[in-house]
């Protein structure tokens, strides 16, 4: 889907836009402050992880890989990292499958209550994650079939939190897809499945891949839902870092964070390569 902004930009392509240097100086200063506030904590984590001393000081005491080594030899942190990574992979596969299928249904079939169903599917994005996690926790306890504090129960939570992203990105791709292309294939004799796989799928694939990467990274960094659902032997990385932060300040946690940052930077860069990032403005991520 192109936003109205993109449409307007296309229509008025010839008209001079304001150039950046014309954006008022005070705006540039505030914008700079925003950038610093958003990115400074990330940079500090990277510096702490690569710093030689116990505490990060200004200027840093020198470059060292000691905390990276400490992280790699710390069984708890490595285990958490692997748990998060594995859960994110599994969540990503399931969320991409169910989300893509639901998005196809909702963009292709018109039925009363479609907007309502769409709002229902997107609502985990909008509701407080802690409340959804709590609801699942109490539900599992009440069911008494061993889902509480289990890997399965935690995964269900992560799939719930990530499927809306896939539905969002895939239906955006489907809305901007010209259905007459698929109809042309049908009229030339292709079956519905063939027409979909040969014509539609390659065109909406960037949307699906973007949704999958989002699902992966949202699951990997998921804190709110994991809070009530994780166990002492099943601690995803964000919970593990949180636990260690409550007791003492370990640069080892920063080293673990560094590896998480690398993953986020890589996946965001990938999403930017395959889709138009401007399209996501207005979609809530958490």
């Amino acid at each position: 889907m192109t936003t109205r902004g993109e449409a307007v930009a296309k229509q008025t392509g010839s008209v001079e836009h304001w150039v950046e240097s014309e954006v008022p100086l005070i705006f540039q200063m505030f914008a700079g402050t925003s950038f610093v506030l958003m990115l400074l904590p990330v940079c500090i984590v990277v510096l702490s992880a690569l710093n030689a001393g116990e505490y990060l000081t200004f200027p840093p005491q020198g470059f060292s890989l000691r905390w990276i080594k400490a992280f790699l030899s710390n069984e708890m942190f490595v285990r958490s990292y692997l748990i998060s990574f594995g859960m994110a992979l599994f969540t990503c596969v399931i969320a991409t499958l169910t989300g893509t299928m639901a998005a196809i249904f909702m963009t292709r079939v018109d039925f009363p209550g479609r907007a309502l169903l769409r709002a229902f599917f997107l609502s985990p994005l909008m509701l407080p994650g802690t409340v959804v996690g709590l609801a699942l926790y109490i539900y599992y306890l009440g069911l008494g079939i061993g889902l509480s504090r289990s890997l399965g129960g935690l995964l269900v939570g992560h799939i719930l939190a990530t499927t809306p992203f896939v539905i969002g990105t895939v239906s955006a791709a489907l809305y901007s897809f010209d259905i007459s292309l698929e109809e042309a294939a049908r009229s030339l004799g292709a079956g519905p499945m063939t027409a979909f796989w040969k014509v539609t799928f390659p065109i909406i694939r960037p949307g699906i891949v973007a949704g999958a990467i989002f699902a992966f990274i949202i699951s990997f960094g998921q804190f709110d839902l994991s809070l009530f659902l994780s166990t002492p032997d099943l601690t995803p990385l964000p919970i593990q870092i949180y636990i260690s932060l409550r007791y003492k300040f370990e640069p080892t946690a920063a080293a673990a964070g560094l590896f998480a940052i690398l993953l986020v930077v890589l996946s965001t860069w990938l999403i930017g390569r395959i889709t138009d990032l401007g399209r996501f403005a207005g979609l809530k991520f958490s």
């Binding site: 990060l56 200004f58 409340v131 539900y139 239906s171 709110d224 986020v264």
Partner: protein, 291 residues
């Protein structure tokens, strides 16, 4: 669509069933039960819904005890201040990104905003704690330089909590605003300029009013995000800034008082849903829905 054969339609329904089943069984029903339990009499350790014991006692307790009532007040103050600050800081950045003519730079800026947003809040809080702590970068540097004798109270108070939440929510505000700022037709602004309006008059009289729906939706989005944050008030407020999510956590995991915890969760849910519904209405009208 109506010409499509009924058989194909029936097969298409199969596509939505897995997602629908998942969302009904593990999302709608659990939420419904959670809120049903909020109307049960408090009984430590009982998690199942008791149809026979309907009571409003949990809510009466909440609104009669200043500890909980105060937490609601704290949560509201916190969410409103964070949303206001995010707007002040986020609008100029969104404006800069939206008005940029260089597509590479736009992509770079948007990528940086997205990276900050997707990194989990605990890691970002770690960075802020290293920055703002008593032995942190700011205090350490200022003390070493001899400018201050005792560390400034930058963390474990309102200031730290607000900085942490603004840090967390700023990317959402920026992304909520870029689209609508970009949608202002530049010729409208140029018309104002050519009629003699100064740059600031053009901004405040023409551009800004056109983006008001985005401003309101960004505000409500950040409001609902920050009112439900648990991790930032815990780490940056050090359990000194008591907000609703902290009480929910305590009632459930420390007191095993599921009914009372559920009633606090319901109150939080209602406030945040109200904000989100209004947000949804606005975005539906202005940008044709999310995504």
């Amino acid at each position: 669509m109506s010409q499509r054969p009924q058989r194909l339609l029936n097969r298409l329904v199969l596509l939505v069933l897995p997602a629908l089943a998942l969302f009904v069984i593990f999302f709608a029903v659990p939420l419904f039960l959670l809120f049903a339990i909020a109307f049960n009499r408090s009984q430590r350790g009982v998690v199942t819904f008791q149809p026979s014991s309907f009571t409003l006692a949990n809510f009466a307790r909440f609104f009669n005890d200043s500890l909980f009532f105060g937490a609601l007040f704290n949560s509201l103050i916190l969410a409103i201040s964070v949303a206001t600050l995010c707007l002040l800081l986020g609008y100029p950045l969104a404006y800069l990104i939206a008005k940029s003519r260089n597509p590479q730079r736009t992509t770079l800026y948007t990528t940086m905003v997205l990276i900050s947003m997707q990194l989990d809040p605990v890691i970002r809080a770690y960075g802020l704690m290293v920055l703002l702590g008593d032995n942190g970068l700011i205090n350490g540097t200022l003390i070493k330089a001899g400018w201050i004798l005792a560390p400034l109270p930058l963390m474990y108070n309102w200031f730290g909590t607000i900085v942490g939440l603004v840090q967390n929510c700023l990317p959402f505000m920026v992304l909520a605003l870029i689209g609508i700022i970009r949608s202002i037709n530049p010729s409208v602004e140029e018309a104002a300029r050519s009629l003699g309006a100064s740059r600031w008059q053009t901004f405040f009289r023409v551009a800004f009013p056109l983006t008001l729906p985005g401003v309101l939706s960004g505000f409500l989005l950040v409001f609902s995000l920050s009112i439900s944050s648990y991790i930032v008030p815990v780490l940056m407020g050090g359990w000194k800034i008591l907000v609703l999510p902290l009480h929910i956590y305590q009632q459930i995991l420390e007191r095993a008082n599921f009914q009372f915890g559920a009633s606090i969760a319901l109150i939080l849910f209602v406030i945040s849903t109200l904000a989100v519904t209004v947000y949804h209405r606005i975005t539906q009208r202005t940008i044709g829905g999310l995504v």
